[in-house]
């Protein structure tokens, strides 16, 4: 009897245990299924990559928001300085999340961590609950995420509700309502790697000028500029208490654990003198260095003039901008922080493999982006055995394919492309096993098509149709269309190791085998040596040139802020006497009254001889350009200058009509030929007696200089 009771009891226990076990297993399935999947700005790689790092190896830690994600490439810190760093930036990473990740990183790398670089962008606003959740998504449950959620909800700025903590730690509770929105991506989340990545850095190659790849169509009217002229007199913006609370915790944590803390600002829009000054005050209060790369640091403006091509969306850096900022920070760290060169050390051997992967994936991809020649492009792409290159042609593909190029294409394996004729239909696929091609002659009016699966099982379908056929091109990979569908040869490069499309481009091979560079900085840098003018530049280069001009003008204007008065005339002339800028000077006789001898001498040295000798009562006008003798005209009796034979025609008119400047003393206008706009105007009140001004007004006709409404010189 007792035995059967015991057996029954044991049976009940086993059944209960099994029941709980099965329930737990199903629940874990739900846990995984309902875990949030972030499709955009996915932090999966960053976080999972971090946890794969061998413990006690990371020496330098980067924290911050998406500006850091795109702005710091730690692998290049290793390559060029030997530093072992990791980029733990995540999208919209609030200061509180930065603190939570700092704690987590220290837990795993306490013995090696010496330096924390914290981007201050998020000090200016509070990250929403969603982004806090996103920021710590993937953090290990114990103790990091539990501590983080406990602190976030039950800390001084939380909801105070324990229920919130329990619900957020359990994605089933938080996200089970998504049951009717589950898609295939929810079941494939482990393979979700939307961008090229390395040690937390998310690689983006394209710039705003790169049509078809850029996230937004570039419009010159809305060009993104960084406020790159610092005004220290502007009052600092008031920072949020909640952000300061967690900032103080970061500072205290670093102090307590003997970590060097460096504050940085990765260049981005939405940052100005008011914010800089606020953070500068905070840095000084805590005796911390603050490197604000939005503004010139140590006299060097990193990306201000080239932000147009160093940013991929107007708000985040691309690879080219990131390398500049990374190296600037690397220089600083090596000189000022306790960082070491770990190259060659046994326990850092894994970094060599990471560097090799980086060179193969990231660096090659960036070089691909810079390649403007078809042969150069295909040769580079073919070097990476993980790349699959799809080439669907459209319309007419053969016009510019000269014989040497055809031979080169044949050497690469594109034998049919080497034989392509007028308006033929063509597709080609190159992978490490070789080249597959289909060529249909134009008179067949057929499209060329290739379908199949890559080695990772992803299916593709490529179609190229010449002008006589359907006249389109398509490249579908895993049911997503990628072809730019432009005339000529369209190219899609797919990286099998990361399951990502790394580049999409087009060569209009009807007319040329070159494509316009999305990063035309080199073209500008070599234009003088090659004897090119602005008009000789490609369209993208001209856009960049105009952009850089605008930034330069802002910098000149910023440098001249506060300068005025007759002694400063020469300063202004020197500042604006630059290439592509035209300085117009107009004066009345009273301008001569206070032109002192030193000023006259300086003017004479600069070729303004008539101005240097200007007498009271005389009217004066000059056109000044760099490297040209100034054009000067003086009317001795003070009458208006006819100037019909001047370079710029002036229109006499009644006062107050149209855009005009009214000469009183010396008037200065700067017209920029590149921007095609007036970029500066000022006057030098060389005669300051109000009675004399009144007399002048009564006595003189005045000469006005008219310009069209847009400031174009006639």
């Amino acid at each position: 009897m007792a035995g059967s009771k015991n057996r029954k009891g044991m049976g009940c226990f086993v059944k209960s245990f099994l029941a709980v076990l099965i329930a737990a297993a199903i629940y874990m399935g739900c846990y995984v299924l309902f875990s949030p999947v972030w499709l955009e700005w996915n932090n999966y790689n960053t976080v999972h990559g971090f946890y794969k790092e061998p413990e006690n190896t990371i020496e330098t830690l980067f924290l911050g928001s998406s500006h850091v994600v795109n702005g710091i490439t730690p692998t290049e810190l290793y390559r060029d300085y030997g530093l072992c760093a990791y980029n733990l930036g995540t999208e919209q990473q609030g200061v509180n999340v930065s603190y939570y990740w700092l704690r987590e990183a220290y837990r795993l790398h306490a013995e090696s961590l010496t330096t924390v670089v914290f981007d201050v962008s998020m000090l200016r606003r509070t990250a929403s609950e969603t982004f806090v959740q996103k920021g710590i998504a993937g953090m290990r449950l114990f103790p990091g995420r539990v501590q983080a959620m406990y602190d976030y909800y039950l800390g001084p700025y939380g909801t105070g509700d324990l229920q919130d903590v329990l619900e957020q730690l359990n994605p089933v509770t938080a996200y089970h309502t998504r049951w009717n929105q589950l898609t295939r991506q929810d079941f494939e989340k482990f393979h979700l790697q939307p961008t090229l990545y390395s040690r937390g850095y998310h690689f983006v190659s394209y710039s705003l000028l790169d049509e078809g790849n850029a996230e937004e169509d570039y419009e010159e009217e809305n060009a993104p500029y960084l406020e790159s002229v610092l005004d220290e007199s502007v009052p600092g913006e008031e920072l949020q208490d909640s952000e300061l609370y967690y900032f103080d915790k970061i500072v205290a944590f670093c102090k307590e654990n003997d970590l060097d803390l460096v504050l940085v600002k990765i260049p981005a829009r939405g940052w100005g003198s008011n914010r800089h000054n606020a953070v500068q005050a905070l840095a000084e209060k805590n005796d911390l260095p603050f490197l604000d790369y939005n503004f010139p640091v140590s006299g060097q403006n990193l990306v201000g003039e080239t932000y147009l091509v160093d940013s991929h969306d107007g708000n985040h850096l691309n690879y080219f901008g990131a390398t500049k900022v990374t190296h600037a920070i690397g220089d600083y760290l090596v000189k000022n922080c306790r960082v070491t060169d770990v190259r060659g050390q046994q326990n850092y051997a894994f970094m060599e493999q990471e560097l090799a992967d980086y060179n193969k994936n990231v660096v090659v991809c960036s070089e691909l982006y810079l390649a403007t020649e078809l042969e150069q492009y295909l040769t580079l792409a073919a070097q990476n055995e993980n790349y699959v290159i799809f080439l669907p042609g459209k319309d007419e593909t053969s016009g510019a394919l000269h014989e040497p190029l055809r031979a080169a294409l044949a050497d690469l394996g594109f034998t049919k492309l080497a034989q392509i004729g007028w308006r033929d239909s063509y597709v080609g696929v190159l992978d490490k096993d070789g080249v597959q091609e289909v060529l249909e002659k134009a008179d067949t009016q057929k499209e060329a098509m290739l379908e199949g699966a890559m080695q990772n099982g992803v299916r593709y379908s490529v179609v190229g149709a010449g002008w006589s056929s359907e006249n389109f091109s398509s490249c579908s990979i895993d049911e997503t269309e990628y072809s730019p569908n432009l005339r000529g040869l369209n190219i899609v490069v797919y990286d099998q190791s990361t399951d990502t499309v790394v580049d999409v481009t087009n060569f209009d091979t009807l007319n040329t085998t070159e494509r316009m560079s999305g990063y035309p900085l080199q073209e500008i840098e070599t234009m003088e040596a090659e004897g090119k003018t602005y008009q000789d530049l490609t369209e993208n280069a001209q856009k960049l040139y105009r952009y850089m001009h605008h930034v330069e003008n802002q910098e000149i204007a910023g440098a001249l802020q506060g300068h005025g008065g007759r002694q400063e005339l020469v300063t202004w002339l020197d500042a604006y006497r630059q290439k592509d800028r035209v300085i117009l000077l107009a004066a009345q006789g009273d301008a001569a009254d206070r032109l002192s001898e030193p000023v006259r001498e300086a003017l004479a040295q600069r070729g303004l001889t008539q101005l240097a000798e200007l007498q009271p009562g005389e009217t004066y006008f000059a056109v000044i350009e760099k490297d040209q003798k100034p054009y000067e005209q003086t009317e001795g009796d003070g009458t208006p200058l006819p100037l019909e034979d001047a370079i710029f025609r002036m229109i006499h008119a009644e006062p107050g009509a149209g855009d005009a400047i009214e000469p009183a003393g010396l008037q200065l206008i700067v017209y920029d030929r590149i921007e095609e706009a007036i970029v500066a105007q000022t006057s030098f009140e060389t005669f300051e007696d109000p009675l004399a001004v009144a007399e002048r007004e009564m006595r003189n006709e005045f000469q006005t200089i008219f310009l069209t409404p847009k400031g174009k010189m006639l």
């Binding site: 209960s16 229920q163 957020q168």
Partner: protein, 511 residues
């Protein structure tokens, strides 16, 4: 700490552990402690009311018992004294109930009269479960008065009966003689009871979280926007509100009953598949059973056999005939019962009308039963067929839906608007043009609600013949476990809970 909050699960688990791990004689103390903690989680300021009510009832019962007649003459005197105690204690308890029901309104009316700022006067405290525990205590006092049971001498044990937490929120309205002995006994852990109790709780959570709270979203949306809804939508929402109320209320009963079963206790059943009822009277024998039986035992029966009602009946018989005279013995007590039932739910006019509505239905069905039988005979309706039974069930369901329309909008004017729309702006096409998916429930959730209602109906049909838990217990282990896991995870996945939703209050908690 609602039944659907995470904190309740932690609390319940700890309570069960302590209940069975500590010495058995401490079980009632564990329950009392747990019940106090549960009650106080809703606000400590509510506790004094319950303590006061329990104190009054406990003392009054003891007092009545102490009043013993010495001889035949003093029996009447003792009875009179007992009646005084009963009425006095009863009046105090009813006063407490009235304070909870209309206290705020009275205070604010006085404030308006004295021209005081309404925000500056203290608000009445809404004592949790006051409708339930005062009725339990009133029933207890009546039972002691009538000698049906003995008074409890231990105040804490009596308090446990009053505050026992599974029933405090929404009932059932327990009888002391049913529950108290169970609370006194010790209970050993029984695996079968644990499983059955857990299963019943799961079913309760399914009804509450998957069906009731899901339908509530649509019902609330539609009735908050009556002017923009078609009559068809309103009728659909009213039907859903009937199902919602049933699932909400009976779901809570199942959770309470299931948890009690885990502890080895049994609560009185409060529902018996009311939508299978074929008449209004039968409906109220299946719906909120303990309220119905309470009114029957403590209002209807005493009134029906009271000398006054008998006298009136006699007079009516003399003037209007035997049938009329007999009817009076039913009509008068029923009228009182239904007015009180309406008032028990709320003192608002719509609930009074609701009570009158049901009372009228039941009275008419009772008084005109012979005429109705003649009518069906005249129309050659075979009342023994299944189709007739189905017709009766559907008819009763719609009678209930009409009752819902009287209460859900919140005011009589609102109810009138709804009826107007149903009769004069029906637009049946609006049920099929896809607009139903924009009433707060998207397509998937709407269809899910329909599927779950079907599941509910199917289980109820099976339950009518044999308890489903029993059926499953006897079935193949794989099928059995699959069914329970399906139920568990349908709650986990489809349940309306989580950060997007606040813990939806149980509807009958407000009474």
């Amino acid at each position: 700490m609602a039944f659907t909050e995470l904190s309740f699960f932690v609390f319940a688990a700890c309570l069960v552990l302590f209940y069975y791990l500590l010495p058995a004689k401490m079980q009632w103390i564990v329950l009392l402690t747990g019940s106090v903690i549960f009650y106080v989680s809703y606000g400590a300021e509510k506790l004094p009311f319950l303590l006061a009510a329990a104190g009054i009832a406990w003392w009054a019962a003891l007092r009545m018992e102490k009043i013993r007649p010495d001889g035949p003459e003093s029996r009447a005197l003792a009875r009179k004294k007992q009646k005084k105690v009963l009425l006095g204690a009863g009046a105090l308890l009813v006063l407490l109930l009235l304070y909870a029901k209309v206290g705020t309104w009275v205070i604010q009316s006085f404030a308006a009269l004295l021209r005081l700022d309404a925000d500056s006067v203290p608000q009445a405290i809404l004592a949790l479960g006051v409708s339930y525990y005062t009725f339990s205590m009133l029933g207890y006092l009546a039972d002691v008065y009538y000698g049906k049971e003995k008074a409890e001498t231990n105040f804490l044990r009596f308090l446990l009966f009053a505050i026992y937490f599974p029933k405090i929120l929404q009932g059932p309205i327990s009888r002391h003689k049913f529950l108290a002995p169970q609370l006194k006994e010790t209970h050993r852990f029984c695996y079968e009871a644990f499983c059955f109790g857990f299963q019943l709780m799961l079913w309760g959570y399914f009804k509450k979280l998957v069906i009731a709270d899901r339908l509530a979203m649509l019902v609330n949306y539609v009735f908050d926007n009556v002017e923009t809804q078609t009559g068809a939508h309103l009728l659909m929402a009213a039907c859903f509100s009937a199902v919602q109320l049933y699932c909400d209320f009976s779901g809570c009963m199942d959770i309470a009953g299931g948890f009690s079963q885990i502890l080895g206790l049994k609560l009185e059943p409060n529902f018996n598949h009311p939508f299978f009822s074929r008449s209004a009277a039968e409906f109220w024998r299946r719906w909120h059973i303990t309220l119905g039986t309470w009114f029957k035992d403590y209002v209807y029966m005493p009134l029906a056999i009271s000398p006054r009602v008998i006298r009136i009946s006699k007079k009516v018989r003399e003037t209007c005939g035997a049938r009329a005279g007999k009817a009076v013995m039913t009509v008068l007590p029923l009228s009182v019962v239904w007015v009180l039932t309406g008032l028990w739910h709320s003192t608002e006019w719509n609930y009074v009308v609701w009570g009158v509505y049901w009372g009228t239905l039941i009275i008419c069905a009772n008084v005109f039963a012979p005429e109705l039988k003649k009518l069906t005979g005249f129309l050659h309706i075979n009342t023994k067929t299944e189709s007739w039974k189905i017709f009766q069930m559907v008819r009763t369901f719609f009678l209930f839906v009409v009752g819902r329309i009287l209460t859900v909008p919140g005011t009589l004017h609102g109810s009138a608007e709804v009826f107007k729309k149903i009769f004069f702006d029906f637009q049946p096409g609006s049920l099929f043009d896809g607009s139903v998916y924009s009433l707060e429930l998207d397509r998937a959730n709407f269809h899910l609600a329909l599927v779950c209602i079907f599941v509910l109906w199917a289980v109820s049909m099976l339950q009518e013949k044999k308890p489903v838990r029993q059926r499953l217990a006897e079935s193949n282990v794989v099928f059995r476990w699959a069914a329970w896991y399906a139920l568990l995870f349908s709650i986990v996945i489809f349940g309306v809970y989580g950060p997007e939703f606040s813990a939806a209050a149980f509807v009958y908690m407000n009474f």
